[in-house]
Structure formats: structure tokens, C-alpha cells
């Protein structure tokens, strides 16, 4: 009588998203060539690379907004990804109030929530999470850039996604606002009560990538490949250690490794 040993391959959780040998051509531009990567359950993954290297296209591939050329495969663990997306611009509807903007996705498509009470409850929870509950009746043009971007994050969170895809969401903000929002993002991700488990962040800031992420992928110039992967061993929860992170040796090591990866690319 022999117990069946669990295979080490099946015990590893399936990746949330896997890109295999993906090439992407937009018009006549080769954006990515034979690019493979995995997004693991529960991780904070940052993707850095030179500007114009196709980072945003990569997120659009993951989201299913773009299809890879020919033989490339984009696999997701779930049939329908429960993913929220945030862009560099807040992309708010100027004619809707803050709460209407946040609740927009709850009124659209097959996943529409009919119950008004449920919609309101979810919207309020998301607004509270980003600290904008008292601005619920304001319109986007009455809010600052940082608040607008927080609203965009609330809108992504309102559908209670397990995965968040962020496309340089803080790129257009000033340094102070950026730091505040980085800390808030960590707090939301590390909050045990939220169902959000995995984040993919595209950024051109090495410091931001290292501060936030468990793992940093460095992309080569176009056509993009993954040229380096850097594991970041900073202590958790990072939202608690936030102010000290940049003084730590492992922060500097990670930054150095990412820089080396970019130089090699």
C-alpha cells in the first residue's frame, strides 16, 4: 500500500494569468515578441521598462482588450477574470458625480446589479476605501488630480475584483500625492477583508516598482521581452514600514538589480 505523493507541480497554485510565447503587432509595429510571463496568485507584480516598450499593450493583452498574434496564448485561471483596471488618466465621466462614476460598472453589462441598495452599499464601501466618502456628490471637475485618480481606483475596486491591473496610475501626479497613493494602494492590498489578492502595476518609476512589488519584471525595448526578474524582499506589511522602506539595504539592492536588468536589456 503506497500513498500517492502529491506532485510538486500540482501543488503550486495555477497562475492567475499566463502569457505564453505572445507576440503582438499593432499596425506595422512589433510591440512584443515571444513574450512569456506569469502572474501568481496573491502577488504584487510590477512591470518596468523603457517608455514606448509596450508595457500598456501588455496589460491590454492580459485584460483581453488586445489579442496576441498567431500562436501566442493568454491564459487566465478563471473563465471570466474578475479584474479591475486603472489607467494613467482617471478617465472619469465628467457628467457623473463621484458616486455615480464609481458605481458605473455596477449598472452595465451582464454583471449588472439590479438592486439599488446593493449598488449604493458597494459604492460607499469603495469610496470609503479610498477616503473619498465625503466627496460622493462632487463632480470630477471639482476634485484634484490625485482625488480623481483615487476615484478611478475606487471604480476599479467596486466590482470587488481579485485582480487589479494598473497602467501607470500615478504617473501624472506630483511626488507627494504619488507617495500618499502608493501607501494607500498597499493598505488596500494588504487589507485582509478585501477580496483583492493580486495586483499588476505598470510603471516607469523603479523606486515605485520596488517599494510596492514582490516581484519586478524588466522589459526590453520594443519588441518587448522579459529581460530580468527581480524578487523584492522588503518586509511586510509594507504599508506599515512605508516610510522606512527606501532606507533599507534590500531596497537599494533591488533597485540596483532592476537598473542592471534595464542596462542589459
Amino acid at each position: 500500500m503506497s500513498a500517492v505523493q502529491p506532485s510538486p507541480w500540482t501543488s503550486a497554485p495555477a497562475p492567475v494569468i499566463a502569457l505564453r510565447e505572445c507576440s503582438l503587432t499593432l499596425g506595422t509595429t512589433a510591440v512584443a515578441r515571444d513574450l512569456s510571463l506569469e502572474v501568481r496568485e496573491g502577488e504584487f507584480l510590477a512591470i518596468v521598462g523603457p517608455s514606448g516598450c509596450g508595457k500598456s499593450s501588455l496589460l491590454r493583452l492580459m485584460m483581453g482588450l488586445l489579442r496576441p498574434d498567431g500562436a501566442g496564448q493568454v491564459g487566465a485561471r478563471a473563465e471570466k477574470l474578475a479584474a479591475g483596471m486603472v489607467f494613467q488618466k482617471p478617465v472619469l465621466m465628467p457628467w457623473l458625480s463621484a458616486e455615480r462614476n464609481v458605481g458605473l460598472s455596477l449598472r452595465l453589462g451582464p454583471g449588472r446589479i439590479v438592486s439599488k441598495a446593493e449598488r449604493t452599499a458597494r459604492t460607499e464601501r469603495a469610496l470609503r476605501l479610498v477616503g473619498l466618502i465625503e466627496f460622493r456628490r462632487h463632480h470630477p471637475h471639482e476634485l484634484s488630480g490625485g482625488m480623481q485618480q483615487r476615484l478611478a481606483i475606487a471604480r476599479a475596486l467596486v466590482a470587488e475584483p481579485t485582480l487589479l491591473l494598473l497602467d501607470e496610475p500615478f504617473g501624472a501626479l506630483d511626488e507627494l500625492t504619488r507617495a500618499t497613493l502608493n501607501r494607500e494602494l498597499l493598505r488596500i492590498w494588504e487589507n485582509a477583508e478585501s477580496c483583492l489578492s493580486t495586483i499588476v502595476l505598470v510603471t516607469h518609476s523603479i523606486a515605485e516598482a520596488v517599494t510596492l512589488a514582490d516581484r519586478v519584471l524588466v522589459l526590453s525595448p520594443r519588441p518587448a521581452r522579459v529581460s530580468a526578474t527581480v524578487e523584492v524582499a522588503l518586509p511586510k506589511p509594507r504599508s506599515v514600514h512605508f516610510d522606512d522602506l527606501e532606507q533599507m539595504d534590500c531596497f537599494r539592492d533591488a533597485v540596483r538589480s532592476v537598473r542592471a536588468g534595464i542596462a542589459r536589456a
Binding site: R60, M63, G64, L65, A83, M85, F87, K89, V91, M93, P94, W95, L104, S105, R107, L108, G109, P110, G111, H139, P140, H141
Partner: protein, 248 residues
Amino acid sequence: MNAKDVLYPAVLLVVIVVAWQTAIRLLAVPEYLVPAPSAIAGAFDGALLRHAATTFGEALLGFVGANILALLTAIAFVYCPPLERSFFPFAIALKTTPLVALAPLLVIWLGTGLGSKVVASMLICFFPTLVNGVKGLKSVEREAAELFASYGATSFETFWRLRLPSSLPYVLSALKISTSLAVVGAIVGEFVGANQGLGYLVLVSSYHMETPAMFAAIVCAAAIGLILFWAVGLVEARLVFWQKVDRP
């Protein structure tokens, strides 16, 4: 609206009227050449207001009809690009054909009554709203469209909650242009063949050298344009509240 926005133009108007009146008195300009403001005021009577009401009705019908039609056409163009490709050159051709040249034809087809004036007004109002409507409906940001796609929004939802509201700033600036054009169209129609309306009044008064009546009719025409423009401006301020709009 600021109190100064009313006060300043009102003061200027009074200054102009007083200067005008004084100049006519001092220089003894004959009335058939340039009438004094007091003579123009004397030409305002019930008949004039009835003519003005006729023109106002024609312009309003033309304005509303043309803009509804133009918006529906813009939606059809945006959702069916071959339609836009085929029809757009003809829309431009229609725009470049002088309305004055078409007006006699309208009178032959539709008679000297309301119809020819409304259609003349519609012809001239149609184009700006069509062009701006198409532009507005296409003005949706790429990311906003992607957002709606990621929500699995139906194409009607995307139209109703994204495209249509996005087009509002464009459409409303076109409507403002249309207001003055609507009056032009109605008056051109009246010039060609009519027995009432401000255009008719201007024409008949010119035959009789009744210059004060002509001036009064012109003032009424300008007032109609202003009222329409102001009304659209009010609607704009309500609908497109997030944009800094021109004061009506």
C-alpha cells in the same frame, strides 16, 4: 450670470441710443435715410409683432427639425461608416450651395406659406450640427471605450452612457451656431415669396421707403436670434455644467 453682465451692455445701449438720437437731431438727417431711435420705436406696433411671431415660429421649427434630423444622421454615420463615406460629400455640397439660390425653388415646391421657410431654415441649420455631432460622438477616449468593453457593456449602454454624453459639448456649440442661422434661413425664405414675416416686412417697407419700419424689423430679427441663442446657452449651462461655457 453676473449683474455686471447685464448692467454694462445696458449702459452701452443707452449711450448709443442717446448719441444716435442727438446726432440725427443736430445733423437734421432725413428720416428715410437714417431714422432716429424715437421714430423706430414708433414703428413697433401689433402688426410688427405679428410678423415677428411668424418669423420666430418658422425659425424655431426649422431649428428643432434640422437639429433632430442632424443628430439622427450623425448617429447613423458613426455607427455605419459606409453611410458616412457615401453621404458626407453630398452633405458638404448641400452646405456650399447658397441657400439664396435654393430658396426660389423651395417656394415653387412648397408654396409661399410656412413650409418653404421652415425647410430653408432647416437646410442652413443642418450642417453644423451634423459635423459637430459626428465629431462629438467620435470624441470618446480610447480608455473610456476600453473600460466599457471590460464591463461587458452592450452597444446600447455604451451609446447611452458614454457616446451620447461625450458628444454634448460639441452638439451644444453647434446648436448655438444654428440659432442665428435658423433666423437667416426663415428671412431668406420670406424674401423670396411670402405675405407675412419680418423678411416680407423689410422688403415691403423698402419699396415704400418706410425706413423706420425696416429698422424695427431688423431689431426684431436680431432679438429673435438673441432669444434662441440665450435659451440654448441656458440649456448648455445645465447639460454641460462641467465645462466653462461662453456666457449667453
